[in-house]
Amino acid sequence: MRPDLRDVARRIARDIPDGAYVNLGIGLPTLVADCVGDGKEVVYHSENGILGMGPTPAPGEEDPELINAGKQPVTLLPGGAFFHHTDAFLMMRGGHVDVTVLGAFQVSETGDLANWATDDVTHPPAVGGAMDLAVGAKRVLVMTTHTTRDGSPKLLPRCTYPLTAAGVVDRVYTDLAVLDVTAEGFLVREMAAGLTRDDLQGATAARLSFAEDVGVLGQRE
């Protein structure tokens, strides 16, 4: 059975070490927070000046000013701290965030990331903090569907959409595979059960290589 995005989030959560400082991008990546368990203590960072974000508040308990980067209400854990935006981005750009998980429109085999703009010029552009996170986090993980809704590949030899940053992606997690970005391009570490190498290559525009011991995605839970 093809893994769904919650399975992908669970898989990413496994790769987040105990004690890590983590920034989850807006949208899909926020699913990861719910999957980090096993007694791990992870400190979540938000670009708007929060370290130590806790779970979503109970209905009626929301504080309209205490929000995350996606403008959703959050809470603060004991040990959490508030600081201003410039310090929040000092942390992001300066390599203090251990792991970030970002969404993507496209990822290239050299680790280029495109996740802020398409070639649609009828909508005003918006970039937010994606570029700072992409260049600054110690480890950049991408969480994405393997292809677009119409089946076009998202893992490409070169991105065609405007770049967020060049050569920054460390690992990509999709509903079909886990792939490392290496000097030789995408290296498949895990694949969804029932998928052949040809299937996966067929859904990928970049040329894939395969690790000696390709695991089954979602089978190590």
């Binding site: 929000i67 403008k71 410039t86 981005f89 918006a126 970039v127 937010g128 770049l163 967020t164």
Partner: protein, 222 residues
């Protein structure tokens, strides 16, 4: 005798002129100095350059400035959001100029202005179209783009409490751009929920020292 408290939001925005560059605090709806922006709207000030993270939503604050055609140019990292109808309308019609800046660079450029620096090199955006037309330099093997300071004529900021010296503390994530903007403008105007006596704020915990603040006004919490 130092007393930066003013009685009304009208007094608070007095003297702000057409053509001013105005830094407007807030991230999403958190920490936005709504009443100060509305006072500026009521004042009739126009031809503004507005520096702010988002471009407003619905019919209030920066969205209202855009609706009333007071904004010539907006410098911003994320103008598009649910409800950013007036920004999109004015932008599509070519009635407002947009300078899109990565969020950390936006904040850092204001800080550079506050700190009297002439600019800085950042890796953020160096390999992207947002670096077009900018100086790029390889430092430590990595491409960096040169970014200029971004000072304001005015900053409009929301904080939680102030004393008569203009010392400020904020509340949770409403702090966001406030401390940087307060330091980056020639005239810094702050709305607070509460005034406190001098000495009541813990000197270890004051976030914006009064040296950065020109006027503070109390706005009743709704």
């Amino acid at each position: 005798m130092i007393d930066k408290r003013v009685a009304t939001v009208t007094d608070a925005v007095a003297g702000i002129e057409d053509g001013a560059t105005v830094l407007v605090g807030g991230f999403g709806a958190s920490g936005v100095p709504v009443e100060l922006v509305h006072a500026l709207l009521d004042r009739g000030t126009t031809d503004l350059t507005v520096v702010t993270n988002n471009a407003g939503s619905g019919e209030t604050d920066v969205a209202a400035l855009l609706r009333e055609r007071r904004v010539r140019r907006i410098v911003c990292s994320y103008p598009r959001s649910a409800g950013s109808v007036w920004f999109e309308e004015r932008w599509r019609a070519g009635e407002v100029e947009l300078e899109l800046v990565p969020q950390g660079t936006l904040s850092e450029r204001m800080r550079a202005a506050a700190a009297g620096l002439g600019g800085f090199f950042t890796p953020t955006g160096a390999d992207t179209r947002l670096a077009e037309g900018k100086e790029v330099r390889v430092i430590g093997g990595r491409r960096h783009v040169f970014e200029e300071p971004l000072p304001g004529d005015v900053a409009l900021v929301k904080a939680a409490r102030a004393d008569r010296w203009g010392n400020l503390v904020y509340r949770t994530a409403a702090r966001n751009f406030g401390p940087t903007m307060a330091a980056a403008a020639a005239l810094t105007v702050v709305q607070v929920d509460e005034f406190v006596e001098l000495g009541e704020l813990d000197p270890e915990a004051i976030v914006t020292p009064g040296i950065f603040v020109d006027r503070v006004v109390r706005v009743e919490v709704a």
